[in-house]
Amino acid sequence: MIHYAALPLELVFEGCESYAPRYLRLPFARGWIVVEELSPGAFRIAQLMSSDLQDYLDPRFQPGRVINLVDEAFRAEVQ
């Protein structure tokens, strides 16, 4: 991989040895949502794998969004 950025590379890659996120793959109607565990119950969307391209334009599936899996609202939302 070649990284081409205006920021010093030490700054970009700082902490990359100790950064070991735990990912979970959650199934939903049209594919999977890969989430990163932040704390029990709280997850950050890392990647969307959907068979419906329009899902990628949906802000609810935007990577970076923090979701709470015990939150019934999110379950109902993606049904």
Binding site: M1, I2, H3, Y4, A5, A6, L7, L9, V12, F13, E14, G15, C16, Y19, P21, L24, L26, P27, F28, A29, P40, G41, A46, Q47, L48, S50, L53, Q54, Y56, L57, Q62, P63, R65, V66, N68, L69, V70, D71, E72, A73, R75, V78, Q79
Partner: protein, 248 residues
């Protein structure tokens, strides 16, 4: 949606409720303010899709969490969806990026360039390094007055062996970037290389920082302007496309 536990099985009914009280579901507006620092605007149907590209362009490696990133595996299907969605007639790419993965940046730039719908790019704040390829990928490009673009050589990073071939490899990567930029903007290759290897501009590096109108003067960007002008030009291009004329 059915959520499974880590072993892939649905937990028995009596354990489905976690012991800790679940956080109360928040109103979407409140959640938006907390997570994204923004409130939900009133919904109105727009025929323009705005694609913000911010922070680092993340490619094959997940960057540590201090980086704000734009993930190419999400942006690429987004662009395919924009191409396919009949309600979307134009794309506005808003850039404020420090650069990132060469392959991912070029992939997104090629996708934006080959999109059949009119595309306008707007550099706000900064469009550095690989961000330059994204800035020139659209049909028409804007830079805001105070925005900057840094042009500098690709530096050595990652698992590369220090042999003469390494230099050739980096040179090839750099050529891919330069070729893309010179093909899709009005800057000549000689001028771009001159800016790239300029000394005396950056404190700890070689290269050039172009501020607003400098980027237009060297032919990299089409016009100095902001959001209003960018949308106006995009609407013009959409009108042209509706009439069956080709965009520039």
């Amino acid at each position: 949606m059915i959520l499974f536990n880590r072993r892939g099985r649905r937990p028995p009914r009596h354990t489905r409720r976690p012991e800790a009280a679940p956080l109360p579901p928040q109103a979407p507006v409140l959640e938006n303010i907390q997570q994204l620092g923004q409130v939900q605007a009133p919904q109105m149907a727009s025929n323009i899709y705005a694609l913000p590209i911010i922070g680092q362009i993340e490619g094959h490696l997940t960057l540590p969490p201090q980086n704000k990133t734009t993930k190419y595996e999400h942006v690429i299907p987004q662009l395919v969806a924009v191409e396919q969605n009949p309600k979307i007639e134009g794309l506005l790419v808003i850039l404020n990026t420090v650069g990132g993965d060469v392959e991912a940046g070029l992939a997104i730039a090629e996708m934006i360039h080959t999109l059949s719908k009119p595309t306008v790019t707007l550099v706000l704040g900064g469009g550095h390094s690989i961000g330059v390829t994204l800035a020139v990928a659209g049909d028409y490009s804007f830079i805001s007055e105070t925005a900057t673009m840094t042009i500098h050589p690709i530096r050595l990073a990652g698992l590369l062996v220090g042999v003469p071939q390494t230099y050739e490899y980096l040179d090839k990567m750099q050529d891919r970037v330069i070729q893309f930029i010179t093909r899709h903007s009005h800057i000549s290759e000689a001028k771009f290389r001159e800016l790239m290897f300029c000394t005396g501009q950056l404190a700890r590096d070689i290269g050039t920082v172009l501020v607003g109108k400098d980027a237009v003067e060297v032919g990299l960007i089409d016009e100095v302007g902001g959001l209003g002008r960018a949308i106006a030009v995009l609407n013009e291009l959409i009108e042209k496309r509706r009439r069956g004329e080709k965009s520039p």
